[in-house]
Symmetry: C2
Subunit: 788 residues, 2 copies
């Protein structure tokens, strides 16, 4: 295991360590006792309820919206159409706007006018005094559609005979090209070239809690208070902009959340309608999405086609990689785009020493629900394609699937690996670690040799058992900076305010550990406040596996600054020199004494407003900090899967499942494991279960859990987790890498490899999710040793 | 008129001036449109309602409280007694605790145990699902009392045979002595000694809105959010302390307020009960006081007896003053005490050049409602006594009432007047002005000579018309420091956050003017945020006529700091030197150009979080500031009254009413005038109408507006207001003096003098309020020239 680089510079050997410990989650008591407050728990006196009228057609002119019957319905207070709110859903401004100004032409209207472009698109909204009356009245709104041919397939969408979603504009809104090295020569000189077409199906994060929001207007002050499971500061800024409110007049509060996974990020049209209606009605308005709405209107993800080829030398060393990608973004340019596309192309080479690369990605629009940044966006898709190609190469070159990877993985000798390509405006820079070494450690740790023996033995018995491997590289910690503040209370409790949000990842616990260690205070005494634009006026938020590194860095700095102030104040109170003071067990002591000391609570209590001001000091004991970090970090790992397929039914069992990661430094091994295991379950969903299927008319077929299959606790195996802390990143004081997404990235690839290994029928899995039909049809015909 | 000392140092001659202008009130649109949110407007989903069971006896042992019937009543969720909350109502810690530690022995229990000490004291509380059920169930609580003799008169309370309210402890909890000079010799050598016994009756501020509060618990985070018309930061700190909450876990929010007047300050037992119940029930609890409760349980004020004497030389120059004061504080040591008593003794000499002074004040407890700091506490009472004594001396010495005052008032030649006496821990220091000169100006301005002629003429006609005069000195601006912050929004709106609160005085307007002037922005573009312990984590508050000076000073500094930042950022954006930039009309311009400039909004918009951090700067355009001021300021003025009394009915008409003040500098002459006129109306109430009368058993007799008389719009005359701005205080950059209370101080004295002048029957008004009975009985027998 690694040393603890710089995390607690000032602490002596006897100090209590909380960082690196499996401290129990600070979030859990309120969640487990039913005391959390999710958005649907927010009920305001006199609130009204919104129901949304959604397009029933994939592609049509909207000739008229007749709201007269709905307006007459009992309890209805307002019916809203695109004539009332003629606005577009704004995109986060994360730098792409200047590079691709045309994205403005593809924005999502808050409410449809003239045209609808996917089933589920909001057309009108009804506000009534009960949710039931709102929904009933929504059913009375009549839309007159003039049908247009739907565009569904991303490659077909770019053909000349495809209908255009936006008149006069290409269905391809953005094309992203990244390349380095001399790809052409490499392919010309290659001993081997392998290629394939790989498809990642449309699926998404499906949180337990659907979307919702509540808006409470202050009529007198013309202010709005909104609650929702949202990106606090982004939503505050963007919604205020659309509603024409000064920023300070929109208070945005992040509620507890039943899963975010990226799909709840960004601004949705419904939030804007709720805020707009509340301001005009002067009373609170609430909206809670039902599951059907969630399945068509929240956010899909993933759908991509990769046409990829690789050039290898005779020894199986990769010389160049090519990938052309069609990213089926759905009808409108929305949340996190074209960020996801940028990451997709940039991360295709992943953990490999790829000397030359040509990647091009087409952001294509179709008559489907818009995509979003679902956990590990771009990496899941690209890793599936690339790892499948490596399996292909292994077979073509007659090298084992492990060995061909080992020969090409980045190793310490490659550092720093900077091939000359930007990802998210930042040069791709692999600065710490040894993926090849990690692979070997992971194989040993999990006993992969025994997996292979066991599979061989079972296959001998005629059973369809196979192993698969996927190597992943993630990028984490995107986003410049985060804010943090520490305040010590006279009662001894410590309040940490952070720009990050608790989205299930355990950030409250992690920040309590970090601050607790620096101040030598039990994390149970530390409360973490987040997700409130008033309490934390500035912040960036929790996405891109960034919170531990960035919010952690800010909280740590605030704690260290708090300690400096504590010592300065204590020196005065104890009549001692600052240099003679030490921190022990949450007390500032004169070194060498056991009784000349003060607890942080005592220091804080002494310096209330009056006393501090009298002494010409700032009251209170605390500090605010901003942590800046303009380098992403790159965690990597291995996913191994052993599958068995029933030849009769096509059913499968994941017999073994191992995922590993290089963590740099895990602040809390228990929550890290939780993150990885949870991500693995979602990876399994994307590999074997979940898909938003459409019919030829663009009608969604998976609109409930009867048709959209989720892996249940019966389907998810025990996930073995292996972690190294060999290569702390030099970019932050913890050495920590962001680990919120690694567990998911290589699952599709590893599962696909395991299926092909189990079936050995010459066919290939080139699309995930693998459907039950595919498994059944291949398994029933697969060759079996000794089978009856 | 005066110059404008330093208020806008950096502004050129062409700058727009908002300070000193009668800018329209920023508060009024929401108040006039019914869009304000008073505490009873705060309704939370699922809230319960509290009703308080109050003592029906003035002084009794409380043998038992039977809550069984109430607990069984429909809709009742909780019944609370002193056995549940065995706690005391805490006092603000404003320094007296260390000087008079015994005050702890006289604190108010949250709920009575063992003993009740005034009618109205809370004994139990019922929480139910409707306010009606709560009140009905409260009626079912049975208290078993064992009656004790009541103590009512403050002088009698100190006699040996008075019952003791607190066993083993004197009914006099605190004695405050202040003296300077050789009083004994002065009296021994005096040409004239006059003396009198003066009584100020028990009355109080009676706001339109009664008290109330709402508490909303966050069960998951164990936090509490409370709304009320309260002193935000004091209440947050003290209630958190009693409830055992870390400070950050109690959010206190000041609602719009239907009048504060000091009587809503401090912590009341009901607030603690509501918070306590909400935390335990896990749902919101609301309490709204009814008018009867308000009359017995909010806060009384004023009741004092002064036995005062003065020594004069042969020319009518005062040599020394003695005052012994009995302050009938009621049953318990509560809000703002012994601060009010300290001010009372300290301010008795007031605007006069008193060379020697002996003052002693007894804080006496009795079986009446506790007193509080009602507008101009101590000054109204002491001024009534002192001014009556000067009228007495005028007659004794054969000098006119104006002339004897003129000879003794502080003039510029007396500056600095520091007789060597502390008031509120601060040396009394009259540092700017000339009261004698102000008197003469006021007399000229109002044409007092004509008043005298007119009165004489009418008296000739047999009418009972007289003039009265009172000279006042106030102390204002108490309290060390205040906080302020300015934020400019990208939309151009400016948000000012202040530790002060809007209690009706117009502070939102005044701060908008101050910031508007410094930033050259229309005050209509400025929103003032206050009274929220989260949005403004630290503040002192609005009392003691301190807000304009202290909150204004903080807001001004924050605006100036904002301007510095604006210029620094603009220099970068305009590629200019900071020194070449000027502020014009809310824009930062390169001097000498009209087009090379940026609005504050443009600068703010450019520096969002991402951009600012990238440039290594703090995001946003704004600044925070703390304004320190450890000197009170002393506004002074004159009140003149002309009264006519109907000899048949005893009814009166205030024919003329003039009040003047030296303002130092009025930030807004219109709101200043509003403050003064409003205060005058309250002064008239205290002089002629309002009194909390008790019977011999200690039962309050004035518990509704049928018995507690308030001056109506029919009774309050047109108030003439005269202001000088001759003597800006050197203590703050505006030169402003606090003017929230001056209009009230001398009204009792001037009205009393006018009555005696009108009646000329040899009797003296020595007590306010003057009752209709007194007026009628004296008027019916008064000598009348030419009367029929």
């Amino acid at each position: 295991m690694s040393s603890t680089p710089g995390s607690s510079g000032g602490l002596g050997a006897s100090a209590k360590r909380y960082v690196g410990q499996s401290v129990r989650r600070r979030e859990d008591p309120r969640l487990l006792r039913g005391d959390a407050s999710f958005v649907d728990d927010v009920d305001l006196h006199g609130q009204l309820y919104m129901s949304v009228v959604r397009s029933t057609e994939a592609h049509a002119r909207l000739r008229a919206v007749d709201t007269s019957a709905a307006r007459r319905a009992q309890g209805v207070r307002m019916v809203i159409t695109g004539d009332d709110i003629d606005a577009l859903v704004p995109l986060e401004q994360i730098g792409y706007h200047e590079v691709y100004p045309q994205i403005d032409d593809y924005l999502h209207p808050v409410l449809a006018r003239d045209k609808v472009r996917y089933v589920g698109q909001p057309v009108a909204a009804v506000i009534a005094d009960t949710p039931y009356r709102a929904e009933d009245a929504a059913g009375l709104v009549e839309c007159d559609y003039d049908l247009l041919p739907p565009v569904l397939d991303p490659q077909q969408a770019m053909s000349d005979d495809a209908a255009l979603l936006f008149e006069g504009q290409s269905n391809e809104s953005v094309r992203i090209v990244k390349s380095y090295g001399d790809v052409e020569s490499a392919f010309a000189d290659a001993a081997h070239v392998v290629s394939g077409r790989y498809v990642v199906g449309r699926h998404s994060g499906v949180p337990m809690e659907t979307r919702g929001c509540v808006a409470d207007p202050d009529r007198g002050r013309k202010q709005l208070f909104m609650w929702g499971p949202v990106h606090t500061h982004d939503c505050q800024r963007l919604i205020a902009e659309v509603l024409g409110l000064p920023l300070g007049d929109l208070r945005m509060k992040h509620t507890d959340i039943g899963g975010s996974f990226g799909v709840k990020g960004g601004v949705f049209p419904e939030y804007i309608i709720v805020g707009w209606a509340a301001l005009r009605l002067g009373v609170p308005v609430k909206w809670t999405e039902d599951r059907l709405e969630h399945m068509v209107a929240t956010a899909h993800a993933r759908e991509q086609v990769h046409e990829m080829s690789a050039a290898f030398d005779a020894d199986g060393r990769i010389l160049a990689l090519r990938d052309e990608i069609w990213h089926n973004h759905g009808a409108y340019m929305r949340q996190a785009e074209p960020l996801v596309s940028d990451i997709t192309v940039g991360m295709v080479p992943g953990p490999y020493r790829v000397p030359a690369y040509d990647g091009v990605l087409h952001v294509v629009h179709s008559n489907k629900t818009p995509l979003s940044a679902y956990r590990a966006p771009g990496r899941y898709e690209g890793t599936f394609a690339r790892e499948r190609l490596f399996d292909e190469a292994a077979e073509a070159l007659g090298i084992s699937r492990v060995e061909i990877r080992r020969r090409n993985l980045l190793a310490e000798s490659d550092l720093p690996f900077m091939p000359g390509m930007d990802i998210c405006f930042e040069p791709y820079h692999f600065d710490s670690g040894d993926v090849a070494d990690h692979l070997d450690k992971a194989l040993v740790a999990t006993g992969y040799a025994a997996w292979e023996e066991e599979a061989a033995e079972l296959r001998e018995q005629g059973r369809l058992v196979g192993n698969g491997i996927g190597i992943l590289m993630d990028k984490a910690g995107l986003g410049l900076y985060e804010t943090g503040a520490v305040d010590v209370d006279a009662s001894g409790r410590i309040r940490v305010r952070t720009g990050a949000s608790s989205v299930g990842q355990g950030i409250e616990t992690v920040l309590a550990q970090i601050v607790g260690e620096e101040l030598q205070v039990d994390p149970e005494m530390i409360d973490v406040i987040h997700g409130d634009s008033e309490l934390v006026p500035e912040g960036v938020g929790s996405w891109s596996s960034r919170s531990t590194v960035l919010a952690g860095g800010a909280a740590r700095q605030a704690a260290l600054d708090t300690l400096v102030k504590a010592k300065r104040l204590a020196a005065d109170m104890l009549e001692a020199n600052v240099e003679d003071l030490v921190l022990e067990d949450g007390r500032i002591l004169v070194a060498g004494t056991s009784d000349r000391g003060l607890s942080l609570a005592e220091i804080a209590g002494r310096w209330d407003g009056w006393s501090a001001r009298l002494a010409g000091d700032e009251p209170g004991l605390g500090a605010e900090s901003v942590y800046l970090d303009n380098h992403m970090n790159y965690p990597y790992g291995v996913t191994l899967v052993q599958i068995e397929i029933d030849p009769t039914t096509g059913d499968h069992i994941l017999r073994r499942f191992m995922t590993s990661t290089e963590a740099g430094r895990a602040i809390n091994p228990m929550t890290t494991r939780g993150q990885v295991v949870g991500a693995a379950a979602q990876g399994i969903g994307g590999a074997l279960y979940e898909e938003f299927v459409y019919d030829d008319a663009g009608q969604p077929l998976a609109t409930s859990f009867l048709d959209y299959l989720l892996p249940t606790s019966q389907d998810v195996p025990d996930v073995e987790f292996f972690m190294t802390e060999d290569a702390p990143t030099p970019n932050n004081p913890f050495g920590a890498k962001g680990l919120g997404e690694v567990g998911l990235i290589a699952v599709g690839a590893a599962v696909a490899g395991a299926i092909d290994d189990a079936l050995r029928d010459g066919a290939r899995i080139t699309k995930v999710p693998v459907t039950p039909e595919t498994l059944w049809s291949r398994a029933s015909k697969a060759p079996r040793n000794g089978a009856v």
